[in-house]
Amino acid sequence: MSYAERVLEYYNNPRNAGTLDKNSQHVGTGLVHVSEYVDVVRFQVEVNPVTHVIRDARFKTFGCGSAIACSSIATEWIKGKTIEEAFRLDHMEIVEALSLPPSKIHSAILTEDAVRAAINDYRTKNGMEPAVEEYDEEPADYYDERD
């Protein structure tokens, strides 16, 4: 199988790979994995405590090239967004932006989970309630339709 141009581009030149200070009050860290796929994503956000705008984001990912590309593109997207806006990041936007095939959707879902986990880590660190996932309008069995 060959990869879409944009996946290769993000894989070859990953944006915002790296580490933020986990112990900083302004940094939220999400570390998620799917054992089935053996993908591991660590996502970090650094948030302006007054405006709640994400001023920096970093990732490190163990997984296939698509998983790396998903994490990397998400760091670009959420920078400059408020934590509320960033929390609404939809994995299908990543899927479309990178032209991922159905078999790689799990990579985008993992990134979405990691972003949310990072934001909620920041929220709990700063005395806020964790944000809750909004009800997904997609039918639960949409994989079957697209596969």
């Binding site: 894989y11 054992s35 163990f62 090239g65």
Partner: protein
């Protein structure tokens, strides 16, 4: 000039040797006859080519030419052997013994036979990819008709103790079949010394063309019979009907002849290059060779690079080096290699593995190039691997607090 990508996937298929192509060419346009046409010179020329090839193919494995049945490849030969024996020996029993790490051509055929009433024992293998001979012996029952164990594994290259295995089968009056696809032409295979009764192999793994293979069927002590799976004109002594693919067969014969003469020299050369590659890559931290290093084909190395994923690795140097990964993260239900899992590797290591398969045309320069390309990509991916960072910081991976699970 180095041609990119460097081809190191010779276990999947080999390029055609130019000497083989030269042998094949006249049989397309000049000597194009049907080998079954008995009444004219075109047919005779084709038949003569097939006769010669049958001798050459037989010679590679120490067989008699009459014991060679041409098929479309090893998959068909495996099918013919397993299904043919199952049907032919139904009176004796329905039990087949094989291993968990056979090629899918054997495993899936066994699964099919199970639906038709076969009882199949899949022997487990150890870390080296080897079965327990005592376990094999105790699995044999009065109903056992066949033991099918591959000569050498396609993913890790480990070579089985075929003589010991066939001795056990023989002691119990059970037929011994071996898929010799990866071994034939690479290491000495002798059906008599090795005690093999049926052997399946293919030309395109030994620098012949795709679409041609053979099944060896023993004719003496014991005389083995199989039920044909293809009915028709009664070609190949009735065991495999279908007009013979004369150019491919002529090439198969030539490929076997070349392999027989060059195997020893080639094995030494490839073994030295493989070891150079392997030793260089093992300089990287947290890398492991999968399977047996002692009992292995000279041109194969399967290595796990912990904390980086195999498919990501391939993406990194895919334009520079062509090889295959034990990871299959491409399907809707991704699974790592069943062979590596059978060795006892965890999902992480199984997903982190690459198979290097050197071949007749591999050069020293290509090996040097590969060492650099793989090393650079492993290092690059580890830089962005959270697991590698944790490993370097001495984090106990089992005590990680996941944000969700």
């Amino acid at each position: 000039m180095l041609q990119l990508p460097v081809y190191l996937d010779n276990n999947a298929t080999t390029p055609l040797d130019p000497r083989v192509l030269e042998t094949m060419l006249p049989f397309f346009t000049q000597h194009f006859g049907n080998a079954s046409s008995r009444h004219h010179a075109y047919g005779w020329a084709a038949e003569a080519a097939v006769d010669l090839a049958r001798e050459q193919v037989a010679a590679l494995i120490g067989a008699d030419p009459k014991e060679i049945i041409f098929t479309s490849g090893a998959t068909e030969a495996d099918n013919l052997a397993l299904k043919g024996v199952f049907e032919m020996y139904a009176d004796k029993g329905n039990h087949i013994i094989t291993t968990e790490v056979e090629h899918k051509a054997v495993l899936d055929t066994c699964k099919h036979l199970e639906k038709l009433g076969a009882s199949v024992t899949y022997l487990k293998v150890n870390r080296e990819g080897m079965i327990d001979l005592k376990e094999l012996e105790s699995a044999i029952t009065a109903k056992t008709i066949l033991v099918a164990v591959m000569y050498a594994n396609n993913e890790i290259g480990s070579v089985n103790p075929i003589r010991e295995i066939s001795a056990i089968a023989k002691r119990h009056g059970v037929l011994m079949m071996s898929d010799i696809t990866q071994a034939a032409g690479k290491i000495p295979v002798d059906v008599n010394k090795d005690g093999i009764d049926l052997a399946a192999f293919s030309a395109h793994k030994l620098y012949g063309t795709k679409g041609i293979g053979a099944l060896y069927i023993r004719r003496k002590s014991p005389r083995v019979k199989v039920t044909a799976q293809m009915d028709g004109g009664g070609h190949e002594r009735g065991m495999r009907s279908g007009t013979l693919n004369v150019p491919a067969i002529a090439g198969f014969g030539k490929a076997c002849e070349l392999a027989l003469h060059e195997m020893e020299e080639e094995g030494k050369r490839l073994g030295a290059m493989r070891d150079k590659l392997e030793n260089a890559l093992l300089q990287l931290e947290e890398t492991y060779v999968n399977g047996s290093r002692a009992h292995r084909l000279p041109h194969v190395s399967n290595i796990s690079f912990r904390y980086v994923e195999g498919e990501a690795l391939l993406m990194g140097f895919g334009k520079e080096v062509a090889l295959s990964s034990g990871s299959a993260c491409t399907s809707a239900s991704p699974e790592p290699s069943y062979v590596l899992k059978a060795l006892g590797l965890g999902d992480d290591l199984a997903h982190s593995s690459l198979r290097f398969g050197l071949g007749r045309f591999t050069t020293e320069e290509e090996i040097d190039y590969t060492i650099n390309a793989v090393t650079a990509t492993v290092n690059k991916l580890r830089e962005i691997s959270p697991l590698w960072e944790m490993f370097k910081e001495g984090v106990d991976m089992n005590a990680i607090e996941w944000s969700h699970d």
